[in-house]
Assembly symmetry: C2
Homo-oligomer: 238 residues x 2
DNA sequence: CTATAATATGACCTGGTGGTCATATGACCA
DNA sequence: TGGTCATATGACCACCAGGTCATATTATAG
């Protein structure tokens, strides 16, 4: 295992296939990853359910991780397309409001693609230690997106320039993960995933979570001026 | 795989062993879980490195999960003992300050037991989907602890009784995970894990993270009175 | 010392895994 | 029709997993 970023993508033979056959393979892989994650997904099972031969699988994909990374790309692309096709309720949203809109619109997208989201989230959250080389790029893209958003907000004067940007990025990313895994955990228990996501109770919980984050971030820097971290209880001595 | 909570613990034969041999087996298992997690840990490797036979392993433990759960118990017990032996800086800490002290004292403990903490955290965070039946009890204990702390704080008048307790528990648990995984991720890159944990930079980051959480939680309910969630941007229509 | 109980052993079992490669098949072209 | 190229096949490979169980060894008791 090298430290090089993962760049392999499906081979041309895969793209030569009829659409229907291609989609069938992808859908079966989605089911497999949703149920077993990446490490425990089995190429033997995927092959058996797809009705393709084992050797064909390796003519289409470099290895098991390759097909997963392809799913990841599909999901990213479709989600960005979905978000581009939606409009925020008005053009004067500040950054936090925009972020809230984005998270919740993302959840609307997720509720109509729950299997694929489940598959990807399960791996991103659950197998980060095993597949860091494959997942680092995707995580960096998320962080970069958030960082750009915060930088723009600072330029627009919406966020105090003294904010710890690294901290804010970290908090927002962690929050996104928390909300996503909450939705995934609880959603799996529901009869109708989408109806549950749209329910007033769930929406309220998500709102509250997002407000906790916002107020925490807005407050922190100014409060540090009046109450520096040195007043925090000392950590135990070695 | 049944839905029954996991209760098996090592067999008497394990406790009959000389102390030294017992600790050796445990230490080797810790190394294995730290490196491979639970699903990918290998009994063959543990056995080979311990110098015990395969059959003996199954005389000491019910199965692979059994030895992991034993580690979990050891860690919980040692950590509670460590916290009991420490005193907060003063007796007038409010709940958030107490929680901060607790998290940071816990980190002091972690930095002297980093391998075991790494092993347990890796599984608790990374393999939650595979081993929910084993890990649920441990997670419930954490939540119960946090809930009791919040209930007491409400009784003492430190926290507004209108707070959404479920939300607060969820946030505090998520935050603990975020801090722990941050420490684990970054700590793994360091030459001297303990020195890095104690460094001013790291302490400041942890402080900031904890303050974000505190301010977010303190603010939320009162703010909802003046700005109800219905003003939040609507989620995209189906 | 013998008998019994406790402990240790490791070959074997069943069941997989990801991936390879020699061969077969099918489509297309002249 | 034969030749070429693209695609499909599946037996096989090396390796591994968790766990079992007949047997061997050691410790202990009388």
């Amino acid at each position: 295992m090298t430290t090089r970023s993962y760049k392999i993508m499906p081979k041309q033979t895969f793209f030569n296939l009829p659409d229907e056959k291609r989609e069938n393979i992808i859908n079966i892989a989605v089911d497999e990853f949703a149920e077993f994650g990446l490490e425990n997904a089995s190429t033997n099972r995927i092959v058996s359910k797809s009705g393709i031969s084992k050797g064909s699988f390796y003519q289409y994909f470099e290895d098991k991780q390759d097909i997963f990374m392809h799913l990841l790309k599909i999901l990213e692309r479709e989600k960005m397309a979905y978000l581009s096709g939606q409009s925020p309720p008005n053009m004067n949203l500040d950054t936090f409001a925009y972020y809230r809109w984005m998270v919740k619109t993302g959840l609307a997208f997720n509720s109509t693609n729950s299997k694929m989201v489940q598959a990807v989230t399960r791996v991103m959250v659950g197998e980060r230690f095993f597949f860091s080389k494959y997942l680092t790029d995707a995580r960096e893209r998320t962080k970069e997106f958030i960082k750009n958003m915060i930088d723009n907000a600072i330029k627009k004067g919406e966020i105090d320039p003294s904010i710890d940007v690294e901290l804010a990025v970290m908090v927002m990313e962690a929050w996104q993960n928390t909300i996503t895994t909450y939705i995934l955990d609880e959603g799996m228990k529901q009869k109708d995933f989408a109806a549950w996501v749209y329910s007033a109770k769930t929406q309220e919980m998500i709102d509250k979570l997002l407000y906790v984050m916002e107020y925490g971030l807005r407050k922190t820097e100014s409060e540090f001026i009046t109450r520096p971290p040195s007043n925090s209880p000392l950590i135990g001595e070695k």
